[in-house]
Symmetry: C2
DNA sequence: CTGAAAGCGCTTACAG
DNA sequence: CTGAAAGCGCTTACAG
């Protein structure tokens, strides 16, 4: 394959001149530029970005590390990130950790070696050492979707607590008291905060929370299904409503309820965090995040930090969620809401 | 940041010795290795993969270029590719062309510069120049999902023609004759071949195809919705069945039918290519591909070609599709099927 | 088993 | 406006 020397020889200039043409830097006589461009064309020269990056100390690549690439929430974030990056000629390396700490650690190591200019990280757990490792090397990082309490880092996320609070209050106002929440391990900040919001709504209403109705699984359809089966088979009295902690859990909940013979909303009401992907008919009441904006915001912040237009810091940028009420909930009224009916 | 020289100095060896420890190449005295490893640890040394790749002429990265990252079909392929690659220490750069030729071309150029070891490409259109550009530079490539008639290249794909044939025959056997197919431009081989299979079933049955029932849109929900509206409002006599060309089109079809007041399967039967993502209740009869295997197969072939265990060639590896019958189709019998009822 | 020299393909900093 | 020299951080090929 031809190198910059071959182009230089053919255009009868020095390699550095070819470099200047390619990078549009410094002054070049118009006729020289044309000669070089022609040589590039004739040789079908493709610059070696490895060599260029090694010298420039800049790869124009950022890493986007997500936890589940099959989830539309993350693919939509990815589009936001891509759009922000392609605006300014950056490329995105997309990595999927599958919620596994070992994969996360491995990717971070590889990406540090590959000298990506920045990291957009959705951390698997709540450990801060992985963030610190990146920061120690001076590589800009923005954490997305999930907080890490012990880390000093910029975060862009949705308001999980508020969304969960509003969904729960909505159910309480419809007269529900036995509301189950199917969430995830409290090591994941979104799972923890969604349970927090749920509790706050109960407390505000003066209603007691039944710990048996708070389940912890994973952000997967299979887990939502299993939690629902456990719930409906073993917990008594039965819940009258189920709060699914994310979109995939919601799919599992709906499938399980169907298989168990419960109708929604007649027998059980259902709400979910995240809008449901590719629903053939919008049906479930949800707290919808704005994943595209999440991706856009986080990427733009990272890009600004890389370009030193912004300092790295400990921002906590929280995007609002939207409550969308549909047909998946039944009112348990007209019985009046009692201040404390437990 | 410390370089290999710093490690070498600290371990009192030459840089090349450090290199040998890192790459596990050549003989090293055990005590030397330990000294080097300790220095690496103490300095928190991270090798610069840019420099290493420049020398090795190998980046251990392959590019996966897909057409729609929000489609579960592609994300599942991606998982197959990732699993195959992580087996042998390769990394995947995932790029999303959004079915746009300009984005495709741009990504290919950038990736060639970045010296990826190979390409897994789902071509946007049927043009072969993009493939030739990659081949000219001697970079291994495997085309995935879609054929390019004029290119001499290895392909891994599903049997679109057969799947479409079987779905259509299934509807014909139920007594349907006015079967609409909502596909995509024939520049995309899968779209073309699905219409081919549809035609073959009609021909075999001795039934005539009504060109007004063959629609061409895009592989998007919005497009499926629009085509369905056009179809049901303007084409007479109304179709009794709709064949959705992919999963996203199917979602659009179902949404549109619902909004227009048609019930499935009572008023209209529906079948689709690709299983439906995250259905809250499996309901539609489909020809299901095996995207995970598609990704795995294509990646393994590419890896073998890169490692020169296999020659590059013009293989056409076709994976079978599975017909899954569910509740979305109604029999128009008992009227007997006439050999030619048009 | 270990190392000095040269070079991968670019670009910075200086000179003219 | 253009170029010769040096170097980015590694590793190949040779020498010992």
């Amino acid at each position: 394959m031809p190198t910059i020397r071959d182009v230089a020889r053919r255009a009868r200039v020095a390699p550095i001149t070819v470099s200047r043409v390619i990078n549009n830097s410094g002054y070049i006589r118009e006729s020289t530029r044309r000669r070089v461009e022609q040589a590039i064309e004739e040789l079908e020269y493709v610059p070696n970005a490895l060599a260029s990056s090694l010298r420039f100390n800049k790869t124009n690549m950022i890493a986007l590390v997500v936890t589940d690439i099959t989830n539309p929430f993350w693919t939509t974030i990815t589009r936001g990130v891509e759009d922000a990056c392609s605006e300014c000629g950056m490329n995105v390396i997309l990595c999927n950790t599958d919620e596994r700490p070992d994969k996360e650690e491995n990717y971070i190591n590889v990406l540090l070696q590959k000298q990506t200019d920045g990291f957009l990280l959705a951390p698997v757990g709540g450990r801060s050492d992985i963030v610190r490792k990146i920061q120690k090397r001076g590589v800009p990082i923005v954490v997305i979707d999930r907080q890490i309490p012990s880390a000093h880092v910029d975060v862009v996320r949705s308001d999980s607590e508020d969304g969960a609070y509003r969904l729960t209050r909505y159910l309480l106002e419809l007269g529900h008291r036995r509301i189950a929440i199917l969430s995830v391990s409290s090591h994941i900040s979104t799972g923890r905060q969604r349970v927090d919001g749920y509790r706050r709504a109960f407390v505000e209403q003066g209603a007691a929370v039944d710990p048996a109705l708070i389940l912890h699984g994973e952000y997967k359809g299979q887990s939502g299904y299993q939690m629902t089966v456990d719930l409906m088979q073993h917990v008594r009295p039965l819940p009258t409503a189920i709060f699914a902690g994310n979109n995939f859990i919601a799919v599992g909940v709906l499938n399980a309820l169907h298989d168990l013979g419960f109708r929604v909303p007649d027998d059980v009401s259902v709400v979910a965090f995240d809008d449901l992907p590719y629903a053939t008919e919008p049906f479930v009441t949800v707290a919808a995040q704005s994943p595209y904006e999440l991706g856009l915001t986080a990427a733009n912040l990272l890009i600004d930090i890389i370009a030193k237009r912004e300092p790295a810091g400990t921002r906590d940028i929280v995007l609002p969620v939207e409550l969308i009420t549909r047909r998946s909930c039944r009112a348990l009224l007209p019985e009046p809401i009692l201040p404390d009916d437990t």
